[in-house]
Symmetry: D2
């Protein structure tokens, strides 16, 4: 694979690389890793890229790869830049016929998303968006339980993503992660809502399959001087009558990456927490709480397929992230081999989900500014 972004000082690029490496089937062979040619070169050298494939910019990378014989090009590119570059980079590679893995939120606007979808449709490339939490085996079990009707009809969804790392004005201290995430030019319309609220939206949608109809949001910037929201509370209404609450915050002191989902149906309920991802709490009417644990034979095929270790040897963030990459690899490999991909493996968030996420952010921000209660989703 190739990578755009993820060089010196970046955080998520290293995660993508570990996730891609885990199963021993993806090698990083090309990259335009940083914002300047000099830093890109240094980052490429540090990661052992061949000098001729450690490109100074993503534009030269597209050209350089296209200039190689078809069989010697990267199979796909991983776009792990700050949000503002997702659109041009992903578009260029897709246009060039190179498969794409793109970080979330996909792009800044629904217009960009529509355009990107059109490009991808034309070029026919595989396109994945790294809503990585959906790669957890127990999230797949949750999705299985809900979609299979085991909880009955869903009535209520509570999803929250709480962090505390931006409780003070960290962006003033030179922290690179905080810097771009709180800068509207690079992060987009929204702060916490875009960065983590979008994960919460995706998690709830993945597990429940419910379609959001209306949003009532209250966005706040608690830290003085900050330009984007660092906190949001919202009420949700779903098609079919389910209701929900989504809240996310980056000022929740003590919270690390406290993403939690609770779903309540007419026959049962479930609860999952990202920080203890190997357990899924499930409760059926009038029965004791059950703690389903990753790696056990009583789980669905989807959960089994997403797991690498026996139960009790915990899996975590990187392994879940790796499931997205493994899914993309399977999809690409299936194309190369002229077969249908294994649906249990080629299971990853799609471009459509990424586009839906962009629209979600737009509508939340709109609702936050509105005095009317409900904003259509």
């Amino acid at each position: 694979m190739g990578m755009v972004g993820g060089g010196e000082g970046a955080f998520i690029g290293a995660v993508h690389r570990m996730a891609a490496a885990l199963d021993g089937q993806i090698d990083l062979v090309a990259g335009a890793l940083s914002g300047t040619p000099e830093k890109s070169r240094r980052s490429g050298a540090a990661l052992g890229l061949a000098p001729q494939r450690s490109y100074p910019t993503w534009q030269t990378m597209v050209e350089g790869e296209l200039a190689r014989p078809p069989g010697e090009r990267i199979h796909f590119v991983s776009v792990v830049t700050p949000n503002d570059l997702h659109y041009p980079v992903a578009r260029a590679f897709a246009e060039a016929g190179i498969h794409v893995v793109c970080d979330k939120p996909l792009v800044h606007t629904s217009e960009q998303a529509s355009d990107l979808m059109a490009v991808v449709q034309r070029s026919g490339v595989v396109f994945a968006v790294t809503y990585n939490y959906s790669g957890y085996p127990m999230v797949r079990e949750a999705r299985h339980l809900v979609r299979d009707g085991r909880l009955g009809q869903v009535r209520k969804v509570i999803v929250e993503y709480n962090q505390g790392w931006l409780a003070t004005r960290l962006e003033e201290t030179g922290n690179k992660q905080a810097g771009w995430r709180t800068d509207p030019a690079r992060s987009g319309l929204a702060g916490a809502v875009g960065d983590i609220g979008s994960h919460a939206e995706h998690l709830a949608a993945t597990v429940t399959g419910l379609e959001l109809e209306a949003i009532c949001a209250d966005l706040t910037t608690f830290v003085p001087g900050r330009q984007l929201d660092d906190d949001a509370n919202m009420l949700l209404r779903y098609a079919g009558g389910a209701r929900g609450v989504l809240w996310c915050s980056q000022i929740g002191i003590g919270a690390e990456n406290d993403l939690r989902l609770r779903v309540f149906g007419t026959r049962g309920s479930l609860c999952w927490r990202q920080e203890e991802p190997n357990t899924l709490e499930v409760q059926f009417l009038d029965a004791p709480l059950q703690m389903l644990r990753r790696g056990n034979p009583y789980l669905s095929a989807a959960a089994q397929a997403a797991s690498r270790l026996p139960s009790g040897h915990p899996e975590a963030f990187i392994e879940a992230f790796a499931n997205v990459y493994r899914g993309v690899a399977e999809a690409i490999r299936a194309r190369l081999e002229g077969r249908a991909p294994d649906p249990l493996i080629a299971d990853f968030p799609t471009l459509e989900e990424g586009a839906r996420g962009v629209q979600f952010i737009e509508r939340v921000v709109e609702s936050g500014r509105s005095e009317v209660k409900w904003t259509p989703a």
Copy 2:
């Protein structure tokens, strides 16, 4: 003490009696325990009341007690009827100069609350409302930490009270508790909001001291045929800029009495759960999570005073409830002895808090019906 309500088939009356008995300083000596004279008599006999003080109705109880010499009357009455009787009963006893402990929600309307406050002010009786969760030692510790500024300025409050017992139409099965709680004539304007949302409101207000400014509520009746809400989600805005989420539900399958409060300030945060009430999680900026535990010497005087056992011997619901009764007993005893009550003991929810709770319910219901985002609290 005397008791109105709490006879055959009732649940909460027995809790009040255990709570009152726990410290060995309150005896039940009179009562009008049920809705009919016959059941009242039977209930009184079962509880060992003297026949002449086991009254057929609450009206005859007021008269009967007043007819006794002043030193031989009950010191206070405990009103544990369904909600619709709180107002006339509490009013009559207060009018008669008898101190009152009244269950929540206090009354049906703010008009009733105002009238009751006027009566109490005239008669000067002690009046407590059994928002019993505020009696937990670790809630008092939480209140101490916030009010003492240890968490800095409060930014965000998340409070939830989740139950699952009304996930099906239990009121059709003859269940007495479900019956009156889902009947607007007896329960009042609201269902879940009145029964448990009011506890959540009180808990958040007790701990934070914040004044609610505006509410945006989404009320739902999920169970077909039910007349009152069995679920509510709401956004909160507090004076001074804090924001919040309150949700309560009676259709959350698997939930028992899952009341939780999280408070996030500029310096720290806390989390408390009613179902594991001996622990209070506290987290300060850049420091490890601390699990404060009831009964330890590092706790505040308020938490110490509310505790009866050494740490590790868990205290629970009845003991917290008993703290309200112990508080009322101290207030009454102090009057009898002509001294100021010990503020660490005479610590119980007041009539004013009960009135605020009634207004909360009214405004939530109003917001639920409104298309405007924010309804003044």
Copy 3:
């Protein structure tokens, strides 16, 4: 009831009184509450005893109560003194035909235990030993599950009781609880083993019904200058082939009253913790972990009968303790009414269990001094 011990400065006496009072059917009417007549009188006054029944000594109390007409005597006595007085006091009241509730460990030696059993057999009194942890509803559920064969044949038992309060030489600071517990003259042969190891032994025996065959113990006194063990680890062998580990400690810094039991059978296992007593973890072969919770309809009749509140309103230490008193009250009441007691209510630790506990302590101390691996239990 009457009480011997439990006056000024005592801890457990107050617990016994709250436990006895909880259900409103037991009144404290007589006592010899302290070690000196003066303190006994003061303690009696503080608790509202009639002066003529606030006896200066337990000997005068036996005489005084016997001097009253049969119908006006106490129904039973509660013996809550330091251990050294259990034997003479319990013996005297039993001899006098007064039913007895006695704290554990029952007496100092097996000889005393045998003698006491003979006296009780002669006089025919009801005799209970307050191994209070066996009163928890979820312990009764655990007992039900094991005895009913739901876990198959028991293979392994792990029971531990960890405290940290004696990690320093607290007995030198004037702490009354620490003082007598570390004094061989008052506490008996053993320190931690007698105080809390005995509870662990009883809990394991109650739940499993297994008979202990051999013990291999390692006793330690960690705190310099202390005369009795403050820590013990031991291996257990049971009749029928089950094996176990029991350890107890009073130097486990941070531990409060961390009594835990795990039982592993051929079909399933369970885990219970005293500090979160409303939950019982149960796991069957190849099935998810289940969290059984007090107050739910899926529990056994024994667990239901031991419970006073709906699920989610936690019960705790006092309520469990009160179940012992309620059991004794039922046994006595049944005798008075000439009927068989309700076995679900009259469920309390017997004199035989107390005697077995004394023997356990003796054998553990013997094993601790032995170089031979296994000491018969």
Copy 4:
């Protein structure tokens, strides 16, 4: 690297490969992956080995690699066979001057261990034993806290490793893992003690640094027909007076890989659980329980260096395992570069620790057969 073992049907080989791959600095380039030449070839092809380096046997692999020019040989071999092959394979590669990573338990007997140590001393190779649990960041924090004296002098150690997968006679069903682990010829002297008790011993020793002096063990084979122990309970005595309990089991139904360590010192205590490895509970005298969490700035340099992700993005088993490989890679790289290795990175279990582990197993088995209480460790 090269690998011996870990082919078709193996479990732990894949874990080693993921662990080695994670940081993108180790490639698998040679192997003798299975017990037969045919299976070795198939396994090598499946993993993408060049045919000429997919050796039929480990003997031909030693020869084949030695026949390559020095710069083109594997840097190290990873030995992941059943236990019986550890000794000959590790010895041969060490003799050949190739660095070795070997799974635990190291070898079958102390004689083999001594011989292997002599060979390694002669050849000077880097030698690591994959006691992988010591690679967890919070284990390194625990080690730091104890070794730094933060808990005072250690008094007591409780370590347990509980599994349930062998609660039935799984080895009769064709399960390969169960098969060799319960076969004395392949597994060695001990079953549960060798497989998981050895991990428990290593974890306790790593964290505390205490030297074991004497053992009193009770070994049991619960499953009829099984030849090796599937359960062991033991008392421990350490030099300097600390005491301990170690128990391990493979018949604990419901347990997955429940490895837990508790250490109690004169100033504080700690608790760590492998199944929730990102948290370390620490408690100081008279202070609240603290939950230290991986990835936070308040942790030691050792814990920081062992971590790849921010707090709240959980790390788990593979990452801990990868720390052993990263440590070995650093040690080898430092030699190649003629510098001292970074001690925070080159932190892995040594051959000496492996040899100590072999002796531990021998002495435990000896104690299990002895009627004398204490067997020297």
